[in-house]
């Protein structure tokens, strides 16, 4: 066995070790400090009720962020997720209210739409080779237009008057559907259970299945992956489809949560989803997209919103803090990276 070459692994001095520590645990440390701070300033912060509320409030963003994580893992980017959420929200609303469909249909159609949007994105990015950011931006425009055109700009709610004036819509948001967004199992909000299960499943999928690792390989070095026999374009396509499906799922949960097919409801989720996924890079010094990191990122954003609202900080000042946290997390990831 060869001896370790000392000069290859120089003794880290204290400073370097501190820097390394912060790169690895800085984000979690920040999260911890935030939690400590909020629980000191407010004794209601660490109650069971508040914790489940925070988790419930981030469940939708987390789903979107997981989709974004997938597209980032294969080295892409999907800006169309926000509009896909909107489309799915409106689609499930329309199916329930305008067409009185049953639960299964209401769940499947939006998911299929999400997958379809993913395929369109993949076609544009993988096949036509338009850079991901720009291609998915264009798709975002188009989907926004489509869903607004479909509803003529109206939001959809139970027994609404039909936009074309043909009387009252026949359907309502049925309780079985609303359960997805508002129900509780064992006193835990259903969307929280959904989120945690999905985070766990995706984590297992990405780390313990062959397919999961192939996503990472595709993103890590497309050429090397191709030479190792990975069908990289297929996996890139999968990633966009998965991104679309997760956005659609988020849209369904959103519709169930607000009980309305609200137009453009998904728009604000894009930025938060992207932010969560990016903050995730820095968790455990992963330096790459990962679902646990994404989850932590979503939690940080959710906790900030909750805690700052409790402290009566106006929403716009919260943006400053959100941006600052983002820069901090990113600096941890990128500053020490050479080249």
């Amino acid at each position: 066995m060869k001896q370790l070459n000392i000069s290859d692994y120089p003794q880290q001095d204290l400073k370097e070790r501190i820097v390394n520590f912060f790169m690895k645990f800085g984000t979690l440390l920040a999260l911890g400090l935030i939690i400590v701070f909020f629980s000191l300033t407010n004794d209601q912060f660490l109650t069971y009720g508040n914790i489940t509320d925070i988790l419930r409030s981030i469940s939708i963003v987390t789903l979107v962020a997981i989709g974004v994580t997938f597209s980032m893992i294969v080295g892409g980017f999907d800006l169309s997720v926000g509009s896909t959420v909107s489309l799915a929200t409106v689609a499930s609303g329309a199916l329930l209210v305008w067409h009185s469909q049953e639960l299964l249909v209401v769940l499947i159609v939006p998911l299929v739409l999400g997958a379809l949007i993913g395929l369109i994105n993949a076609f544009i990015v993988v096949k036509i080779r338009i850079p991901d950011l720009i291609g998915t931006l264009a798709v975002m425009y188009i989907i926004n237009g489509v869903h607004l055109t479909y509803t003529k700009g109206y939001s959809i709610y139970g027994n609404m008057p039909m936009p074309d004036g043909s009387g009252t819509a026949p359907g309502i948001f049925i309780p079985a559907f609303q359960f997805i967004g508002q129900g509780r199992l064992f006193n835990i909000p259903f969307p929280v259970i959904l989120m945690v299960v999905i985070v766990a499943l995706v984590h297992l999928f990405l780390n313990y299945t062959r397919a999961g690792r192939l996503f990472y390989m595709t993103g890590g070095n497309k050429e090397a992956a191709r030479l190792s026999g990975v069908p990289v374009n297929r996996y890139r396509t999968y990633a966009y489809v998965i991104s679309g499906v997760f956005a659609a799922l988020a849209g369904i949960v959103l519709a169930a949560r607000i009980g309305t097919g609200q137009v453009s409801a998904g728009d604000p989720l894009l930025m938060d989803g992207v932010a969560a996924a990016l903050i995730g890079y820095s968790v455990f010094g992963a330096g790459k997209p990962n679902v646990i990191g994404t989850f932590v990122g979503a939690i940080i954003i959710g906790i900030l919103l909750n805690g700052l609202t409790m402290m009566n900080v106006p929403y716009y000042a919260q943006d400053i803090i959100k941006g600052g946290i983002l820069v901090g997390a990113l600096a941890l990831t990128y500053f020490r990276k050479k080249e």
Partner: protein, 368 residues
């Protein structure tokens, strides 16, 4: 083509109406003018200027929310009844786009322009150009004061005062309230003026929390933020009421309270739509009171004023619709829609405001 005599007729009118400062009086006056016009007008003979398919432009600052949707339906319905065609220019919350749209409409040579929201500074230039070209303008909830423009409003001050008065009565002038608000929107800023005055007027009412943001997902944001506030004040009775002066706020807040099971907290909102009615009428709904005008009616009045202008009739320069305070307790148990709120709430809607006698004939003619 049809408006050459119009400026002269308008010039006399404003002086008369502007003396009647109180909004309510104006409203009455306007309502009363209708029968008068019957005698002076031409026994339901349709003026030539309006007896043709007119092209009307509606310049809107935004169209999100159910209020806007129902306002648009109201516009379309009324213009259609008159045999015209209305084109909606939606600026999507972008004032410069709104100014552009106004220009586009003028270039189009439309017969009349309706403006919904927006600010005078951005639109004055366009409005003046329109007036120069003889295109009449009727605004809604806007601060344009150009001569010859009829400005209707749903009177944000009375809206806010109406619902706040109810709030104060219900909690007996004392208690903790939560305020949902965001700046940047004229109606909300006006309502805020009344709110500040309200706090001064009732020193025993204390604002314990304030939040709010207007996004494409206002209701959900409000819901999440209200949840945080509820968690901060977990004891029953620590919050007595929420003032949510915009129905998207009220929806989110209501949902948060319902899901937290904190039914003792009551919500006082502004605006009303079919969806809002459903939420308010739900069992044990915390949303007990709202102050509102009927968006469709606002639209109807605005269109009718415009047609009167086109027909060369005199119209007031300002006209404020009477808001009504809708208490759930005043509504029956069965679900009510916007169409029949009037049956239960006194003064809801004023279907005959700004109605000239020939309008019935015109509507009848176009119904065929």
């Amino acid at each position: 083509a049809c408006t050459n005599q119009q400026p002269s007729s308008q010039e006399e009118e404003p002086e008369e109406t502007s003396e009647e400062t109180a909004a309510e009086e104006t409203a009455e006056a306007a309502e009363e003018t209708s029968p008068e016009q019957t005698s002076q007008g031409s026994d339901a003979e349709i003026p030539a200027a309006v007896d043709q398919p007119l092209k009307i432009a509606a310049i809107m600052e935004f169209s999100t929310g159910t209020f806007a949707s129902q306002y648009v339906s109201g516009l379309e319905a009324q213009v259609k009844k008159f045999g015209g065609e209305v084109q909606i220019y939606n600026a999507n919350n972008d004032l410069s786009q709104m100014a552009n749209h106004l220009q586009t409409a003028i270039n189009q040579g439309v017969d009349g322009i309706l403006i919904d929201h927006g600010r005078a500074e951005a639109l004055n230039q366009g409005v003046e150009e329109a007036l120069e070209k003889g295109i009449p303008v009727v605004t809604f909830d806007n601060d344009i004061t150009a001569d010859g423009v009829t400005a209707i409003s749903q009177d944000d001050y009375s809206l806010a005062w109406g619902t706040l008065k109810q709030l104060a009565q219900d909690i007996d002038g004392e208690g903790n309230i939560v305020y949902v608000w965001a700046g940047g929107f004229t109606p909300l800023e006006r309502r805020n003026v009344i709110y500040e005055a309200f706090l001064e007027h009732y020193p025993n009412i204390e604002e314990v929390a304030r939040f709010g943001s207007v996004s494409n997902n206002t209701a959900l944001d409000s819901q999440n933020q209200m949840e945080a506030v509820l968690k901060k004040y977990p004891e029953e009775g620590s919050i007595d009421a929420v003032f949510a002066p915009y129905d998207e706020f009220a929806k989110g807040v209501t949902r948060a309270i319902q899901q937290a099971g904190r039914d003792e907290i009551k919500v006082y909102g502004i605006d009303l739509s079919d969806e809002d009615l459903q939420i308010m009428q739900a069992e044990n709904s915390p949303w007990v009171t709202t102050a509102a005008t009927d968006p469709a009616e606002v639209a109807g009045v605005q269109v009718r004023f415009l047609y009167q202008k086109i027909a060369g009739e005199e119209t007031p320069s300002i006209y404020a619709l009477d808001p009504s305070v809708v208490n759930v307790s005043d509504l029956p148990d069965e679900p009510v829609t916007m169409a029949d709120v009037g049956q239960h709430i006194e003064g809801w809607g004023s279907p005959n405001a700004a109605r000239s006698p020939w309008m019935d004939a015109l509507e009848a003619k176009n119904a065929q």
